[in-house]
Amino acid sequence: MEVEKAAATATPEAEAKAPAEVAVEAAPQVMPKRGVEIEAERLRPVQVEPGKALYRQVLPGVLQVPADLVIAAARKSSLWPMTFGLACCAIEMMATYMSHHDLDRFGIVPWASPRQADVMIVAGTVTKKMAPAVKLLYEQMPNPKWVISMGACATNGGPYTRYDRVLQGVDKIIPVDVYVPGCPPRPEALMDGLIALQNKIMEERKKIG
């Protein structure tokens, strides 16, 4: 609902004026001219289903506490981020993976396929054209999964706030666990964010599916 209202206020004059000529005459396919309804459909947030871990159902209660600890420690030590560099933050993310500020020593290996990744580091501006792809990629990742929103653009639009074709923050469509501020954040800041995510995984080990 807020998305629709926000989209409606972003283009007030679209309702008032009827767009006259434009490419509809030239283009072979019929294109709807109203953006507001389509935007609401595109930008609907994903449905988040909490996973149900098999080991919780199988193990007796007394063994679940050490099992939680071991499994959470294993998950945090081997986070595989999906390479989702969109814009300038991607360059700093790549610099963090490389030899000067190494991320491999934390067990973090970049992996291109969403089906085998744990973490999605949204590095860069998410535009409304890209939003359905982001949602699809998030849904393709298997549970348990986390999202790090890197940079100012992914947090709330950044320097491109107020342009109505930019999504003002990726948390409007997917749930985010850690926000890393900066434009672009230094590699040390991204490492700090990943370590904070590791701490969060340990702290929330009872809730992870």
Binding site: T11, P19, E21, A26, M31, P32, K128, R162
Partner: protein, 184 residues
């Protein structure tokens, strides 16, 4: 900046022997309005002559503008929409800017893709950002904006950014009273 504060640039005629004279020699019956810009000579033509002028600019050996640098649109509100072509010639090492102004309610223009292949995406972008229709373009669908969200043209002056302009005007009123913007 409100329309009352906007000023137009004074027309400075180009020096003799410039590209404007070459154009006048090649196309003597076309009406040009020549001015000297900061770096290039600017020629303003009517919409009807535009296609002939561009074709002559590329094909005539004295002009030989084989390289289209840039094609942009500028929205001058009531005065219309302007399309600007920047051209360069590698053989004669001269450059020129050609402009054509279109009325606001009928922004149609012949496409330049049959003359320079590199005008393709520039025209698609101008079409979606300003609403200009290029006749003869092979594929005039939106390029940068999503195809199904074409309800307004972002770069037109009457589609402002969401509430940023009141915010800026307010801040400018505050800052003018303060003792100085720090000199960078």
């Amino acid at each position: 900046m409100s329309p009352e504060e906007q000023q137009e640039a004074p027309i400075v005629p180009p020096p003799p022997g410039s590209v404007a004279d070459l154009f006048a020699a090649v196309l003597p019956d076309v009406k040009f309005q020549a001015a000297q810009g900061a770096l290039d000579v600017i020629l303003t033509v009517d919409r009807e002559d535009l296609r002939r002028v561009l074709r002559a600019a590329k094909d005539d050996p004295r002009l030989d503008f084989k390289y289209l640098r840039c094609l942009s649109g500028v929205d001058h509100m009531e005065a219309g929409v302007e399309v600007v072509y920047h051209l360069y010639s590698y053989t004669h090492k001269h450059n020129v800017t050609i402009k054509a102004r279109l009325p606001q309610d009928d922004p149609r223009l012949p496409s330049a893709t049959s003359i320079w292949r590199g005008a393709d995406w520039h025209e698609r972008e101008a079409a979606e950002m300003f609403g200009i229709f290029f006749e003869g373009h092979p594929n005039l669908v939106p390029l940068l904006l999503p195809e199904d969200m074409t309800d307004h043209h972002p770069l037109r002056k009457d589609s402002p950014l969401a509430e940023i302009e009141e915010w800026q005007a307010e801040r400018a009123g505050l800052a003018a009273g303060e003792a100085g913007e720090a000199e960078e």
